[in-house]
Amino acid sequence: MSDIKKIKDDYINKLNTENNIDKVNNIKSELFGKNGIVSNEFKKLGSVSVEERKKLASVLNNIKDELQNKISIKIQEIETKEINLNLEKEKIDVTLPERDFEIGKIHPVSQVIDEISSIFSEIGFSVEEGPDVENEYNNFTALNTPDNHPARDMHDTFYLDNNKELLLRTHTSPVQVRTMLKGKPPFKIIAPGRTYRSDSDQTHAPMFHQVEGLHIDKNIHMGHLKGCLNYFIKEFFEVDKIKMRFRPSHFPFTEPSAEVDIGYEIKNGKIVIGEGDKWLEILGCGMVHPSVLKNVKVNPSKYQGYAFGIGIDRLGMLKYGINDLRAFFETDYRWLSHFGFDPLDVPSNYRGLSR
């Protein structure tokens, strides 16, 4: 009995100083293997009296637990040490570059269209679209601009045939015509899209973008037009206050017509929208002309409303400080990377129009 206690103490001492995992494992089998010292002691239990056995077994079990405990602690100790040792060796230079990734971008025109759609969505407008190629009726005649009208000269038109029947739409207003012809009032739409004029210089591109707005119902008057545009401009430029001026003007398809200016000033070489005493023309609008309503089979004595047309590219230029309109369409990789928007930046009301 005292033997086994001594053996135990010896092994505990041994284990205390041992640092090699293999040797610890050897000790484990020396003690608990098939013919291990402790195992053998247990075997001997069979040959002692019942009373003795109880006592002995309890002692043996205690010794076994103590040794096993010691061994497992030791193994953990050594393993942890080894891992810690390896950690040092495994250290890498995390300042080396990550694997390549490319960041795609959304073109400013697309982003601004989405911003505009988001704003008008909030006040119940839906988005309509129309074809880029139009017939002259939808683009001009239905819009109260007959062939002999000098107002046609305001639009330098691209034609697709010599009879001037087919053309590239000079504005998004023909979408108004299409929408009203195929439906019944009330109408509440915006129509963004490409528009074309055969005009090309520093500030004009032969293709540009417009958004048309149309709200026709029973009692829509110029006050609503003012309210709608005031709301839009404020939301779009993300300012609390906006200085806005309605100026009488003339478009054949609206009457009364107005051009809208917003106030701005130049601060540190940058345009600041909403303040200052300078005026910037940003859109044209008016009450839809009764003749247009008649042309699209809407009764002007029952229904009335407003329409407006805004240059999308120009709005984008103002909001994001882009100076050159032509650059929008030149596909310069540097420009696209610089002015483009992250594809996850989807303009929305709850997350904010822009980041």
Binding site: I103, P131, L168, P206, M207, C228, P290, Y333, P343
Partner: protein
């Protein structure tokens, strides 16, 4: 429309200062483009400083001066003046300037082998004195800070430039503008003085307006002025003409122009002695011709309104006169014309002949038909005053009487349209000041429209007049009405939005390019589509509508490669045109990737972009937009601009007629033709219109959630199979062995060459098998394995690799 404030005050009694007038004009819809002094010939002379004067290499008497003219760089000027020395402040004239002394226009010239950009001026050259010995010496204390500024002060009166909308011909004359201002409370319109002209004799040149099928002239008024002395205009008249930005010509021409801009009443003066017997106003016949005052010869079509005499055409009525009957300094007798031409006729003729004149601009928009006499009288008076002569009785021939426009206006329409109310009293006052004749019939106002307002024909025009004069600032700002009639976007608009952002999120930069392109590039991509030429393109390399997005995308790819970019990913979403009728267009995404993946990576092997890069991008984007990947079928028939062996078509499912997408390499011949130099180039396109989206909302279309917890087994197979056999078919073949048990089949190796017979390849697949009802035992699995092998072998002629 240009005029000076002084000129305006000839018609308007006003206490408004210039700024108030400018503001008022803008507020009533007469947009002020600018208010500044008209450009003067002396504007170009600027204060300059000689920085360095050295001797001319080829001429001892000349000097070569570096001159500071206030810009970034100095200018080199050759100068012969003895006093040209370092530091001298003087006056510099750039090329293009006109030297006052000899009226010569400067050009860049070589003087003894050295180029001189402009010149330094002497006092005599600038007509300041007779001093011609040397260049001007400016005083340091006065001019040292003014280098680069104009030397001469521009003393001309400031000119208001209005942009008049096409509906307002009446404001193409100063009087009309004054009338509008007076209506808006900016002053009082002056009453025209009664004329006390004495008329002597009759206008004895017979005038006939011929009856024609299409007669563009309804009234022709004229008078003869005999015994005039044509000459230079007096200063006041010259100044008026100059303020319009025009050149004075002679008193008679200047007077007719002056009256045109003053009253918006175009006139024409003929040299009466050059008229062959009589005046006939008629329609032209095709082939007639005449030489116009712009010194061009015009050959006429049928039915153009001409003024002629017995010898032929004198001029185009209301558009331009002819040289044959033009007035000169020697002219003694004048026939003065004041007529009314129909806008439609003027517009048609001037468009056909491509002529634009001030008269045409006015007649086209509509002249006051009742201003004929007033014009004749005002011009005759001035001619008599300046050139002398005696005036005949006025002769007015007309074939039609002016009809008054009458509008019965219900004032309620005003409030209904504008949202605010104006008292009837004020409303009537505004209309009367604008020249309307107003009478009341209960609630309705009976309005006689003034003859100078052809634009006003119906009640809504009256609303505009009142609100414009009253001021748009009176319109209230109502809260936006938020009622929604239908969802903001429809299914296809949402798809557009999803795909656009989904492709961008794969690392592509979105671009927007013209809808037109170069036919030479377009024809490489147009397949069976018809070319759609633009009749009047902006340039010959943008002469057709694009049949595909790629012509532009590749054009700009090349530009970016030239800029030094190597790895480029670009896409555009927009229209591709299939025909020239409205709606013959598809909404397409075109995308390209060029260059390498993992270029110069320290830990990844770099490689050239390939078909499977874009295949991933296109399939992933489609899946993100809601297309079920399991339904997608890939085919190898692609448009001819793709590499025939390295491109694929994507079908949404096997029954579809149109591919929804294509991907792959561009045909090498095209790359060569376009001379695109890049290591690798792959493209894809998605046609949004061919995608069929489920009309079900997600909330209605989510299927029941099912899964199996039983153990899954994985088995690998390798088949030797014909080289052209498509892996997609093999995969489908295996799946169809047992659609329930076989959960997935993945190709993980394809191999040709060593140990594989010629014309064959090895395809290895990894198959996942799992039951939803039980754990499969070895026996079940063996059966499936055998079934897979036997059915693949029998259907495809493949052999399992042992």
């Amino acid at each position: 429309m240009k005029f000076t404030v002084d000129w305006l005050k000839n018609h308007l009694d006003t206490k408004f200062n210039n700024n108030q007038i400018i503001d008022k004009l803008t507020n009533i819809g007469l947009e002020v483009e600018s208010f500044e002094s008209s450009a003067s010939e002396t504007d170009s002379f600027i204060v300059a400083k000689i920085i360095n004067a050295k001797t001319h290499p080829n001429a001892d008497r000349l000097k070569l001066c570096d001159v500071d003219i206030g810009s970034d760089k100095t200018i080199e000027v050759v100068c012969g003046a003895p006093n040209a020395k370092n530091g001298l402040l003087t006056v510099y004239a750039p090329p293009g300037s006109i030297i006052p002394k000899n009226q010569m226009k400067l050009s860049v010239s070589k003087i003894r082998g050295v180029t001189s950009y402009g010149m330094l001026c002497s006092e005599s050259e600038l007509l300041l004195s007779n001093e011609s010995d040397g260049i001007i010496e400016l005083k340091n204390n006065k001019y040292a800070n003014k280098i680069g500024e104009k030397y001469f002060k521009n003393t001309s009166e400031k000119v208001i430039d209005l942009s008049i909308t096409p509906n307002r011909p009446d404001c193409l004359g100063v009087r009309g503008i004054a009338r509008d201002l007076s209506a808006a409370g900016a002053g009082k319109l002056k009453i025209n003085k009664k004329s006390n002209l004495k008329y002597i004799g009759n206008q004895n040149i017979n005038v006939t307006i011929k009856k024609e099928k299409v007669q563009g002239c309804t009234t022709f008024g004229s008078c003869l002025i005999k015994g005039v002395t044509n000459k230079e205009s007096p200063k006041w008249l010259k100044d008026k003409i100059k303020s319009l930005g025009q050149k004075p010509i002679s008193a008679i021409v200047d007077i007719t122009n002056y009256v045109m801009f003053d009253l918006n009443r175009p006139l024409h003066a003929y040299d009466a002695d050059k008229i062959d017997n009589e005046i006939i106003v008629r329609s032209s016949s095709k082939g007639e011709s005449f030489e116009a005052l712009d010194n061009k010869k015009y050959i006429l079509e049928n039915d153009m309104c001409v003024i002629s005499d017995r010898s032929g055409v004198l001029g185009l009525g209301g558009i331009i006169g002819g040289t044959r009957s033009g007035t000169e300094y020697s002219t003694k007798n004048i026939l003065l014309e004041s007529a009314y031409f129909l806008p439609r006729s003027i517009r048609k003729t001037s468009k056909q002949l491509n002529i634009d004149t001030d008269a045409k601009f006015r007649f086209e928009r509509g002249i006051d038909p009742l201003s004929i006499q007033e014009g004749l009288i005002k011009a005759s008076e001035l001619i008599k005053q300046i050139c002398g002569g005696e005036i005949s009785n006025l002769d007015i021939k007309k074939i039609e009487n002016h009809k008054k426009t009458i509008i019965n206006f219900d004032p309620f329409l005003f409030e209904k349209t504008t949202g605010f109310n104006v008292e009837n009293k004020e409303l009537i006052k505004i209309l009367e000041k604008l020249g309307f004749d107003v009478s009341k019939n209960k609630k309705i106002l009976k309005l006689v429209v003034p003859s100078w307002r052809p634009d006003i024909t119906q009640s809504i025009d009256i609303v505009e007049e009142i609100v414009r004069i009253k001021g748009y600032e009176h319109i209230n700002t109502s809260e936006p009405i938020k009622t929604r009639l239908k969802p903001t976007l429809n299914y296809y608009q949402k798809l557009f939005h999803f795909l656009q952002r989904s492709v961008a999120s794969k690392g592509y930069l979105e671009t927007v390019t013209w809808s037109f392109t170069d036919s030479k590039i377009n024809q490489l991509f147009k397949e069976n589509d018809k070319e759609i030429p633009i009749v009047n393109p902006i340039s010959s390399d943008l002469n057709v509508l694009r049949n595909s997005i790629f012509p532009n995308l590749l054009f700009y790819l090349k530009k970016n490669l030239d800029r030094g970019f190597k790895d480029i990913s670009l896409f555009e979403i927009g229209p591709a045109f299939k025909g020239k009728n409205p709606g013959d267009q598809l909404t397409v995404i075109g995308a390209l990737r060029a260059g390498k993946v993992s270029r110069l990576s320290w830990n990844d092997k770099e490689r050239i972009v390939d078909t499977f890069d874009v295949k991933k991008d296109v399939i992933q984007s489609l899946c993100e937009a809601g297309i079920n990947k399991d339904d997608i079928i890939i085919d190898d028939r692609t448009p001819s601009y793709y590499h025939p062996g390295k491109s694929g078509a994507v079908y949404q499912n096997k029954n579809e007629k149109n591919a929804i997408a294509y991907f792959g390499e561009i045909h090498p011949n095209i790359i060569k033709k376009l001379d695109i130099k890049t290591e690798g180039l792959v493209i894809f396109e998605i046609c949004l219109d061919y995608i069929r989206v489920s009309k079900q909302k997600i909330k209605d279309s989510k299927s029941e959630y099912k899964f199996s917890d039983f153990q899954k087994s994985e088995r690998d197979f390798a088949f030797i199979i014909n080289k052209n056999f498509k892996s997609q078919e093999l995969v489908n073949m295996i799946k169809s062995v047992d659609n329930k048990l076989i959960k997935s089949v993945r190709v993980f190796d394809v191999f040709e060459g060593e140990n594989i017979p010629e014309g064959k390849k090895s395809i290895a697949v990894h198959v996942t098998i799992q039951s939803e009802e039980k754990t499969l035992n070895e026996n079940d699995l063996d059966n499936i394995n055998k079934l897979i092998i036997s059915s693949v072998e029998s259907k495809s002629g493949a052999k399992i690799r042992s």
